[in-house]
């Protein structure tokens, strides 16, 4: 395949990937998926999730702290698990 064609396909691929992300079909990593699942198990009626109890959930217990917090940060950026603004403790709101 010549370079021009390769560039052409790269252009299309990037445009479609961007579209996928912007319409909310972006992929989530295995760690993020595990955090969402664990959060879904302990979420209360108001959609609140306590960080301490989230960390103690079985699927996340084996996860390293850095991976866990990276996943939390990434989910926060995507507005799926957002930090509760008026909370003194670290509580999150599950919006997934």
């Amino acid at each position: 395949m010549d370079v021009t064609l390769l560039k052409s396909f790269a252009k299309l691929r990037l445009t479609l990937l961007q579209m996928e992300k912007e319409i909310g079909l972006g992929e989530i990593s295995a760690a993020e998926s595990a955090v969402i699942c664990a959060a879904a198990l302990i979420v209360d009626d108001r959609g609140r999730v306590e960080l301490a109890s989230l960390m103690s959930q079985e699927p996340l217990a084996a996860m390293s702290r850095s991976t866990f917090f990276r996943a939390i940060k990434s989910l926060g950026e995507r507005q799926l698990l957002v930090k509760e603004s008026d909370s003194k403790v670290s509580d999150y709101i599950l919006k997934a």
Partner: protein, 196 residues
């Protein structure tokens, strides 16, 4: 070199095949359904080949235009019962294929779209704007060429834009599926087919 020619041949066949298949669906599925709802109307309310046209020209530029020219001319030839001669039909096929180029340049001139300079890559929303204007220009061309009215302009524009939207979404989902499939079978034949 032979590999490059082989790839080019596969690409042309794939583009023509996709155009023909979607044209077949538009004529044999969409047209009968719309005839039941709206009666006999000039134009197709979901003209899927328009999506292939815009994506091919956006991706491949002039190459996309040349690859699709035979099928576009062939398609317009089949419309010959609409009281037009062949020269006019060929001219209209060429102009219809040029609509995405013209739209792209008009929107760039109006600063509605600002493609990234090195690759001329567009944001997908900008690409939608190109599809919208291209559908409108195409409908004007067809209604003038086939002596139709304002209702047909609206009908063809909607058909072209909807067709483009559906193909754009399908392309996005197909690429997503190929990515997952490649992930599932790293050493299988899919890894070879889906390397892009």
């Amino acid at each position: 070199m032979y590999r490059a020619i082989g790839f080019e041949a596969i690409l042309i066949s794939a583009l023509m095949g996709a155009y023909f298949s979607l044209l077949w669906i538009s004529w044999n599925v969409v047209v009968p359904v719309q005839a039941m709802i709206f009666g006999e109307v000039f134009g197709i309310l979901l003209f899927l080949p328009n999506g292939i046209k815009i994506l091919a020209i956006y991706t491949l530029g002039w190459r996309g235009f040349l690859y699709l020219l035979p099928v576009a001319v062939g398609h317009f030839m089949t419309l010959s019962d609409w009281n037009s001669n062949f020269d006019e039909l060929i001219t209209m096929a060429v102009l219809s294929l040029l609509a995405p180029f013209v739209s792209f340049n008009i929107l760039r001139w109006l600063r509605v779209i600002v493609p990234q300079p090195m690759t001329l890559r567009l944001n997908w929303r900008e690409l939608l704007c190109v599809g919208l204007l291209s559908g409108f220009l195409n409908s004007i061309l067809l209604t003038i060429g086939f002596d139709q009215g304002l209702k047909e302009v609206a009908f063809i524009t909607i058909g072209d834009v909807l067709g483009f939207l559906v193909v754009l979404l399908a392309a996005m989902l197909a690429m997503r599926w190929m990515r997952f499939a490649r992930h599932q079978s790293k050493r299988g034949w899919l890894a070879l087919v889906t390397w892009v």
